[in-house]
Amino acid sequence: MPFRLEARGRRSLLWAWLSPVVAVAGTLLLSTLIFAALGKPAGAALYTFVLAPVSDLRGLSELGVKAAPLVLIGTGLALGFRANVWNIGAEGQFILGAIFGGGIGLAAGDSEGVWILPAMILAGAFGGMVWAAIPALLKTRFNASEILTSLMLNYVAQLLLIYLVVGPWKDPQGYGFPQTRLFGDAATMPILIHGTRVHLGVLAAVIAVALVWLLQAKTLLGFKLRVLGEAPRAASYAGFSGPRLTWFALLLSGALAGLAGIFEAAGPIGQLTPSLSPGYGYTAIIVAFLGRLHPFGVLLGGLVLALSYLGGEKAQIALGLPNAVTGIYQGVLLFLLLAADLLVSYRIRLVPAPQSTIGSVAGGVT
């Protein structure tokens, strides 16, 4: 091995923030190579993917709309990851939020009432919490890995959603399409900026970032969560209850994912369909890491990953590339990020080849 890793002794703050930049740059470089390999003009493709989506005000507003669910979910996940609570079930919690909140929206029908929207939002958060409570219970009571249980529940949630939209909640006037009817006006998220699709959820995402930052940086609870993540035995030594903190992290991230779900369903989509989420729950994991598990970082990371969705759509239309390209970029981005993160805690030292080996001498003795 031509290199050796030396512990720095303390984390490099420089690299902690530089490594996402390196990862994004590396992903762009790699993507040009992929475009070139696929026979597309690299420069134009890069432009289509990165700049075209945000070249006008409308594009920028769309970026915000796409980023909102990623940021909402990612903020919660980041808080959990810091506490060593691996909630991989945000996709399911997102869906349950949409189902709970959407259920109220559908029940409200066309009735007017200022209570409808708040009730939907609360129900959405509650739905996400309910779904996250299952892995929390199984983790704290039965010691079952929250990674696998929360992930399994994603599939269950998706099937539940399909059951509802092809079964009891199906729109009778929907020509047999698997979808509910559209939410009424009183059950639809208000648009904040006229002429765009920027809705209440975008504001909620920004508020969530600020609140979670306050929690993480200023409160004892935030400190406890970090101790639990960095040294669980130190947490129990200090008297910070691991199960209680695990519950909190899962419920909070579940609530935020549920909020994202109802904001999407009652916002840009306007109804329940089987494809509510283009994998937001999974992408938000990347957002959390790209954002250094820090709320403000998550905000930036959410914008970057939102761009990958928009760019993917543009590339699909303009270059005939399959939508799956987005998934590749996201995977590569996370790979590069994790690799670059090495430099946060370690220094790479090139090692000259060993002076000589024992081989001959030892062999002689045996």
């Binding site: 030396e6 512990a7 002794g9 303390r10 984390r11 200023k218 409160t219 004892l220 609870l221 400190f223 970090r226 101790v227 960095e230 040294a231 035995r233 130190a234 129990s236 030594y237 200090a238 008297g239 910070f240 209850s241 220094r347 060993p354 002076q355 000589s356 080996t357 024992i358 081989g359 001498v361 030892a362 062999g363 003795v365 045996t366």
Partner: protein, 531 residues
């Protein structure tokens, strides 16, 4: 007998060992690490048939040096000669091929595997792995090191584990056996047994490189001693001709004062601060030890020492006292209030503070700053958080106070805990607890792995605290330490605690018998005979 077949040994038949070419000779070995130079031009010569002590404090560079000899580390400069021939030892297999065996300080054993599997892993020649179990039984019988080859290692006591390591080496017919701090986990009786084995190996012509910082042992066992300090060799001598005091001076480089304890009797009349009554607790770890009806009490101003070999329930006892494990309320009382059902934070509120054995990840969070580590256990007693909001500047102030009062060498409250040396981090942790002015302090392994200076300063701090009226419990494997600072000593073995006895009236031999699991009555009877 100890010679591998066919190996050529120039000078091996020479009658005078002092004139013969040394079996192992190191010339100017240098090994640098990012922060320090662990070995700075070390010279060492070990001859066949001698027990050679490598003496030095923790951090003097002994472990690094033996890892170089065993091929785990590679020197940055210098030469290794084996029987006069220069060699480069690429890896442990190469070292074993030369005839070098090593018994590690933190055993290099695999818990989930059996004794035979553990031994097979260190035998590189497939031919010699055949019929291994029979060979293990044979060798262990020949040396009186009883072992069951089919037993899983996690069932073994610390002493038995060491036997596995020794048998593993003996099966290779070593010419040089390296033993890294082999006695730190043994009872006095087990130590005698080990010495008998080592002397026997010496008689068979095997060289032994014996690493230790225990001076009496070295004087009793070794023929030569090389003394290291701060990565350099500072002396070579015949330890049998030296006084312990002189060896200590060579090793430490200065004279150490014995710790000062104000009173011996004042504790007698004082009220009991901590009372444990009939504590039984099931271990929550896979290979833990259940606690069985433990009772003791500690008075204000008193130091109670709890001796015992690692893995006899110390971890569980610490957890039960600190509140990390919970019992019925009345089992544990602090100032007569039942606290058995309370968690660590509530117990702190009532005046108990704790220093766990493991510094990194238990007593402190390695990746967090000293300010945050101060917050960790002191937020309640020092009111470092109000209405759930952390008062950063107050926490930083407290951390700075600990750093100042306990001479913690660091870059200040902002330094990450992992950037501190072991001694400095331990001073920080102990200081953090002491400055909370506890009524009861429970400390586990307070000086484990520290150099003599740091250890002395921590022992003195504990005694000073007791002198100010705190009840102090010290759980330690280091008998010398306990005899030095305790007012009374009890022994934990197999999850049971012997009844505490005044430190002045027990001998280390008696304590050793208790540590080995002998029934207390038997020890008292044994005690009665000479009297």
């Amino acid at each position: 007998m100890a010679q591998a077949g066919g190996a050529e040994r120039p000078g091996g038949r020479d009658s005078d060992p002092q004139l013969a070419v040394p079996l192992l000779q190191l010339d100017g070995i240098v090994k640098r690490f990012p922060m320090t130079i662990a070995n700075d031009g070390v010279n060492l010569a070990v001859r066949a048939g001698e027990i050679h002590a490598l003496l030095g404090e923790n951090g003097a560079g002994k472990s690094t040096l033996v890892k170089i000899i065993y091929g785990v580390l590679h020197p940055d400069a210098g030469e290794i000669r084996w029987n006069g021939l220069a060699v480069a030892i690429a890896n442990p297999a190469a070292a074993r091929a030369l005839g070098i065996g090593m018994v590690f300080q933190h055993f290099s054993l695999f818990e989930a595997l059996t004794v035979a599997e553990n031994i097979a892993l260190a035998i590189d020649d497939p031919q010699r792995r055949r019929g291994l179990k029979a060979k293990i039984t044979e060798v262990s019988a020949a040396y009186g090191l009883k072992l069951d080859p089919d037993q899983a290692v996690h069932h073994l006591s610390v002493g038995e584990r060491q036997r596995v390591e020794i048998v593993r080496c003996l099966l290779q017919n070593p010419k040089l056996l390296i033993m890294d701090e082999p006695t730190s986990v043994l009872t006095p009786q087990e130590i005698e047994h080990l010495f008998a084995t080592l002397r026997r190996l010496r008689a068979q012509g095997c060289a032994i490189l014996y690493i230790s910082h225990k001076l009496e042992e070295i004087r009793a066992l070794c023929d030569r001693a090389t003394v290291m300090r701060q990565g350099r060799v500072v002396a070579e001598c015949d330890p049998r001709q030296e006084t312990s005091h002189h060896l200590a001076e060579l090793m430490i480089g200065k004279d150490l004062k014995p710790p000062y304890h104000l009173h011996e009797d004042a504790a007698d009349g004082a009220a009991a601060r901590l009372v444990v009554a009939n504590l039984s607790l099931k271990a929550d770890r896979a290979f833990g030890t259940d606690l069985k009806s433990i009772s003791f009490s500690v008075a204000a101003g008193e130091v109670l020492g709890i001796a015992g070999i690692a893995g006899n329930g110390q971890g569980e006892l610490m957890a039960a006292l600190s509140g990390e494990a919970i019992t019925a309320p009345a089992i544990i009382r602090i100032e007569d209030a039942p606290v058995g059902a309370l968690g660590p934070s509530e117990r702190r509120a009532r005046g108990a503070c704790f220093v766990p054995e493991e510094r990194h990840g238990h007593g402190a969070v390695p990746g967090m700053s000293l300010t945050e580590n101060a917050l960790l256990s002191a937020w309640r007693r020092k009111a470092l958080a109000r209405h759930g909001v952390v008062d950063r500047s107050k926490a930083r102030g407290f951390a700075a106070e600990v750093i100042r009062a306990f001479d913690v060498r660091s870059e200040g409250p902002g330094a990450e805990a992992r950037s501190l040396s072991g001694g400095n981090l331990q001073r920080f942790i102990v200081g953090r607890e002491i400055l909370q002015e506890p009524k009861v302090l429970v400390v586990a392994q307070p000086t484990w792995g520290l150099d003599a200076g740091a250890a002395a300063s921590i022992r003195q701090a504990l005694l000073d605290l007791a002198d100010r009226g705190t009840a102090v419990v010290v759980i330690s494997q280091d008998l010398d330490e306990l005899l030095e600072i305790s007012d009374r000593i009890a022994v934990i073995a197999g999850g049971r605690l012997s009844s505490p006895r005044p430190a002045g009236s027990v001998t280390s031999a008696e304590l050793g018998l208790l540590m080995g699991g002998a029934a207390p009555q038997a020890v008292e009877a044994h005690d009665a005979v000479p009297a």
